[in-house]
Structure formats: structure tokens, C-alpha cells
Symmetry: C2
Subunit: 419 residues, 2 copies
Amino acid sequence: MTLLISWIQSANSADGDFPLNNLPCGVFSNAANTQPRCCTALGDVVIDLAAMEGDGFFGEDLGLFCRPGWNAFMAEGPTAWAAWRLRMQSLFSQGSPEADRLSRYLVQRHEITLHMPFEVTEFSDFYSSYHHAVNVGSLFRGADNALMPNWLHVPIGYNGRASSIVLSGTDIRRPMGQIKLQDSDVPVFAPTRRLDMEVELGAVIGTPSSGRVDIGQAEDMIFGFVLLNDWSSRDIQAWEYQPLGPFQSKATASSIGAWIVMKEALAPFRRQPPERVKPLLEYLTSHETWVYDIRLRTTLTPPDGGPSLVSDTNYQTMYYTFAQQLCHHATSGCPMRTGDLLGSGTISGPDRDSLGSFLEITRGGSEPLELQGGQVRTFIEDGDLLSIHGYAEGEDYRIGFGICEGRICPAIPETTCRS
Amino acid sequence: MTLLISWIQSANSADGDFPLNNLPCGVFSNAANTQPRCCTALGDVVIDLAAMEGDGFFGEDLGLFCRPGWNAFMAEGPTAWAAWRLRMQSLFSQGSPEADRLSRYLVQRHEITLHMPFEVTEFSDFYSSYHHAVNVGSLFRGADNALMPNWLHVPIGYNGRASSIVLSGTDIRRPMGQIKLQDSDVPVFAPTRRLDMEVELGAVIGTPSSGRVDIGQAEDMIFGFVLLNDWSSRDIQAWEYQPLGPFQSKATASSIGAWIVMKEALAPFRRQPPERVKPLLEYLTSHETWVYDIRLRTTLTPPDGGPSLVSDTNYQTMYYTFAQQLCHHATSGCPMRTGDLLGSGTISGPDRDSLGSFLEITRGGSEPLELQGGQVRTFIEDGDLLSIHGYAEGEDYRIGFGICEGRICPAIPETTCRS
């Protein structure tokens, strides 16, 4: 748990997201390279990995980094992932004899455009926070029946929509949908009135599987993690979700951060999951798996004001680990593929400040939240910018995810679909 | 509604699946062409479209048919689809001056291997049969509360798993999963005891969208239809489905037929959907859309016996059309892509013989079905072969889908996942 010192000075700050310990996986373009290609971040700069690979820095040129996503590299598997990290840490550490030759691959952050870091093959989202499940269950069914009988046994999940995953910074159009108002017997087709965030982490699957996977294999298949905000329309969800689960309420967009943080970078921040309320079945526990000490701080910035912290939570409070989610996902034989994205579900901790959705923060809209400057919110309004910053904090360095943010723009109620 | 006569005599039979009116879309390989490529079926032969395209029969060689799936051609859009059909019907009609030149592209059906006809981008499955919804609802909630309040307003759907779509003929491994037995408080991890079929039709999306689509645009985006059997584990489903819907119970496999039947081939079989019990919202009805008169006959063949007809149903009984499903699917702004597959949901008609699942046929397993030869079934057993044949029947020709079938092989309860 010591900072690796780099010859890139800006990477050596104790409170930066991108020290040499991190080496997150991104995709960029700039004026000189208009085709998106793979990069990593070190302090204030990004490193053009496609150019390094072309010049032979990673052995044979396999064309892994000249692509607009990390999928090809992820498919190479854990040995290749570890070898690449070691090579990069050697090349960019203080005293590296290669420093002069490498300076040509550095690109200033303000000169680049970031793109989606990988092609999302399929997207599944889970419900792995005990506190979130209890909070939401209490709102809908009362405190005595908060948890469904299956929740303490099954990592509950559903399939989302890969086509709706967007990069941080993309505007989010307030969706239309079927909404059943309390004073009416029939639904209306209208803009959602209860647009919510879900502060999450996503796991990115590196190596594929066919048939069942054991829990240890599941751990090995995970390449890394991204910030995730699963935008949710609570009124649409309430009307549509029975009996087949959420559908259009969660299909507008889910934003992800621009950087995949590799699992290996987070190894020092592994934690035991919380104590089990009931024992889990053996297939979920026969190999040790982890949550991580990753703090997620979310601000809301209204169009005419400054940012207010609305959630300050931590992934280590999650009840089910990503490896358990993945192992369960394949119990039926469901094939998993490189680029599959698994969401953790809303990350809510035990405290009032550590809730990951407005549904919980405002108790279903009944207790409005006061922002800095005196404005109040029950749910998210047009023009609001939601911004998640995530990082693991060591003694003298951070492993950061950067920012995952999105601003809400107004619905377009008219039917102008063909234009 | 007249048979188009071809110089390929076997295509002129009144009860064959593949007359010149059909021109279904498949993918094949054989000894001479080991790389899968696009083909169509005419009577007893398939036509090598990659070779025809390479020889200039479709104008400029765009490389649309030398691929292992129809996605590139589908993305070309309705004008290209119609032009291709006209060209093919002209070339292969009786009296065509090109007949001699074309005979080199004919391949005998018994010499080929069929492959997946398209790459499935994402898979969503619906619940669009009124009778199925009422039957299942009655089993679980009683006849008075059979339909959920939303059902008559929303085409209810959920996202499935594209990675689990397999070609007809692929063996289906009985899945393991969490099952809660009636006499226990905790679940077991065991092979499903209630493996079921769901007789369905799937719509294949040809042209993509971003943002909302109107109902007329939705109709235009649909390229064609395939047979679909959504294998379902009812005991796993019963335990897992609250509150986020089915997940592992429907992720083992869904089989599709090898042939996409184009929408245009089915135009003579368009039908009005059944009368609305309650009016639908305007976005679902502002443009006329259709169901189709397509008969689906399903047989079960046990390992030691002959086939028994277990279901004889018709897609024209469906309450929601595929265009309504697709339009609703995009209400939230969810992007749709070429190769997306939308299932109809189980197709059950009003009669005892026209039920599309064993859940309904045996009323949740309480009324076993007797097969030819005296064996009985509540759900599907190891070694059983389920086979769906689908076709639209005109006065002197059929538009057939071929067969969609799969045989159940035993579960592997041991954890041998890594080997």
C-alpha cells in the first residue's frame, strides 16, 4: 500500500485519481488521432498505448490497443493483464531509463476527447445492497416485510439494456412513459415525474465462459470496475414492473465513467463482505470473494447554483460480491462474454448520508432534500447535473475512477420521432 | 395469394415450407464453403447468395451475403429488402432466361450445415398473449385477479440474454438453480424439476433507432420473424422473480429456427389483432399494425416413443402486435439496433389444444398430459425432443419457417466447471 513514484510528477500527488498504482483503462481521440484508441491515465496526462504497442513496447504488435475499446485486451486474460501492468509500472517509474523515449506518448488531458472505454456486450444489474433492499422494501411493504424471502439467499438481478449505456458527460433526456396517477384508473403517456439516480459500481467481464462457473473462476473472469449511474424513472417502474420486472423505467440510459479501474489496482482495498444474516448456499461461498473499500461521493448541481453533496457512500457495505453475482449469473448455464457489464445495484450504506438514490434520500418523495442555497429536491429536475466521484483511499495514494456525470435535459412530449 | 411458380420444381408443392413466395433467410456451410454464408431456401435446395452476389447478380458486390449472418443486409433497410426479393423472384420464376446460369448456385439440403441466421444483438421477451396471461395469472392468483392491472395497457416485456440464444437442433442442458421446495425454509441448489417450453415467434429488428419511435416507424423497422422456444425453469422462476423479474430461469437457452421469414412474405397473412378489452393509449394505435395467421404445431418425442402433438396454436390470437412491442420498447428512448430479437411471449389460444406451455397444459403440473403410447408428462423430461413447426397457409401455398427443435440432456450436478 505504498505509492509507486513516477517520473511523471503529477502522478505522485497523494490526492490524485491516477498514480502509477492505478493505470486505468480508457479510450481517447485527439486532433492527431481521430480514430479512438486505448490509453491510460497518469497524473495529468494520458498515455497513447496504441502508439507504444506499434513501437514494440509490449512485444509483438497484436493490435490490441489501436481499437476503440479494451475488449480485445480484456479477452487476453489475467496473465496478460498482470504482465501489462508490470511492464507499464516499470517503464513509468522514477529512474526508468526509458523515460526520454516514452515522453512522445504523453498527451495532455485537455487536448483529448474521451470515449466509451469498452464495447458493452450485455448489461445486467443487481440489487446487492442490504440497506438499499431494506429501505426500498420498507417504503413499499413496511418495515416488517422489507426483505423478500429470496433476498438473503439469491443475488437478485435482472437483465438491462446494453444499447442504453452511455459515457459520462452525455446529456440524459427525461423519458416519456406510461404512468398511472393515483387519481385515475387509466395510465397517461407523459414525461416521468420521478427521475432518480442509482449510484453504483459496475464490474466488467474480461474472459468468457460457457456453462456454469465456480465462484473462484468467477473472481478470475472479472477485469475491472467502472462508475455507474443507472437512471431510473420511479413512476414508470411502479406501473410496469409486475410481473416481469423493470423494463422501460431503466432503459433510457445508464452512465458509466470513462475509466475502467483494473481489479489488480484495487487488491489492497479488498474487504470481507458484511456478516451473513443467513448462511449462503455453498456454490456462492466455496471460494473467498471480496467487496472493496471504494468511496462514492455524489453531488447535485442545479442550473443556477453550486454543487451539493447528496450521497457519500461506500461499496464495501455491499452484501453480495461481484464474483457472487457473476457466479450466480451463470448457474443456469448462461454464457458470459468479454465486455459484459454487471451493475452492483444502488449502493446504500446504513446512514442517512450514505443512501444511493433519491427514492431513499427523500423517502419516496415525502421528505424533500434541501440543497446548498435553499432549493429543495424530491427527485431530479431538468437542468440538474449529477456527478459521482469514486476512489479508494490508501495512506499516501488514491486509486480513482474519475467522474461519472450527466445532466438532465427536458423531455420532448411531441411525437416527432421520424424527423 | 397465388403460388409463384419456379423452375425449381420442388418449390411448387402446395404443402412445402419454401415456395418462391417465401425466400427465407438462412446461413449455411458445406464441404466447398466452410465459412458460413447467407442462403435462401427454395423447395429442396438452398441458394448460395454469397456466390451470386460475387458474380454480380445483385449489382455492385457489397459483401452483404458472404458473412455468417444477415445483419449487414438487414441494416440496408426496407427498400433494399424489397428490391432483393423482386430480383430473386424474377431470377427463379418459371421461364427465367437465367435458369441455366443459376443452377450452379443450388446446393442440396442434405449436403449443408445450417448456422444461426443472424447475430443476436440483444434479446427482449414479451407477454403479449391474452390467454397466456389469463391462464398463468389464474394459476397464481385465481381467476378473479388473473390479469395484473397494467396488462391491458402496457405490452409487458423484460430483457433476456442474447448470449443464450441457440440454433434449432442444439441440445439443451437441464439447468441447475436455486429452488425453494415447499417443505423447507431454505432453498437447495439442484436441477430444475419443472423444465418447460414456451412456444413463441420472434421478430428480428432490421433498421436501428435512437430515441422514441412512432408506431408506423416501428412497423417499418421489423425485418422478419423466426420460430422461438424460450426454455423456462418454472421452479427457479417462482423463487427468483420478485421483485426484478425472471433471470436465471430463462437464461439457459432459447432456441430459434434456422430461417428468418421476411415480413413481406407474410403480408398476405396479416390479421387485425383481437378486439381491445380496454382502449390502448394513442402512441400504440395511431398507425395500423398486425398480427399474422401463423400456425404453430409442437410435438414432444420421448426417447423411446413417437411424436405426440402437445400444442397447436396460432400467432393471430396475440393481443399486442410486434410493432406495438417495439414502439413501447423505445418509449424511454432505449436505442434499438439491427439484430435485436423481440419474443412474442408464449402463444396460447383460447382452447385446451392451443396452449403454448406445459405450465398451462398440465395446470401447473396438476393434470398430467398423456402422450401417444401411454407415457405421461407434467413438465419436460431428460431425452425429450420438443419440435415446433410453423407456417402460414394460403390457398395453394405455404410460407413455412421450418422446424425449431431441441432435445433435453441431463443436468451435471457436480461442480466441474473449470474442466
